[in-house]
Symmetry: C2
Subunit: 106 residues, 2 copies
DNA sequence: CTTAATACTTCGTGATATGATATATATAGT
DNA sequence: ACTATATATATCATATCACGAAGTATTAAG
């Protein structure tokens, strides 16, 4: 997929991955994989940004001798998903504009 | 609309605006306006980039005492639109992932 | 003992949207 | 005659951001 196109979907994808249950970095990547490839450096950058924007909260816990950071969505994060749904209407109208066939040609 | 989301649609929007007929900067902004706001600095940056990528060609012509630069789409530009249509399937599956409701909750 | 999987972190780079600013002409209003 | 608005393009500085590369550390499998 086009890189620029991905950019607009990354944040909201990560938020969707923790929407129903808290999760941690490595798991999030695996959950998102069927829909979109995301490298670790990209994910952790995004998680940090979403944390700064208070769209998620973090807690650190030990699991099997390793440390994990669990991320939980906040109300702001849920709002962000709702905003995406609003944006979707505009995206659809743009899609139609781009794919519209020329009437007097073709 | 979310800025990051716009990024992925800007190029393809501009290409769509010249898909059927050559056009010029000021006109392109007006044609795109119903779907997306785009400032002049943004548009001319994009036109330059698309020209470098050979997705469009330019010719300069005088019109009413003013110079205009007319942009015409190339085969590469048309291919770019087709690629967007392919990307669209992935975007749809991401949209479903993001908007999917939790079954055991809600 | 080595490889792969798990798990997170940091850094440098390149791409890029946009506001601000500048230049120049034509037209419409007062 | 003056002023404001619309038309038309160009450049620069800035801030944001995705991502590869490289690193640290543990556990499990072969």
């Amino acid at each position: 997929m086009d890189i620029q196109l991905k950019r607009g979907l990354l944040d909201v994808c990560v938020l969707a991955a923790i929407k129903n249950n808290e999760s941690y970095g490595y798991q999030i990547i695996k959950d998102i994989k069927p829909y979109m490839e995301m490298s670790e450096s990209t994910l952790y950058t995004i998680l940090k940004r979403l944390e700064n924007a208070q769209m998620l909260t973090v807690r650190t816990a030990e699991y099997g001798g390793r440390l994990r950071k669990y991320y939980r969505i906040t109300q702001s994060g849920l709002n962000r998903i709702e905003e995406f749904k609003d944006d979707w209407k505009e995206i659809l109208s743009i899609y139609r504009f781009v794919t519209k066939e020329d009437e007097e040609n073709e």
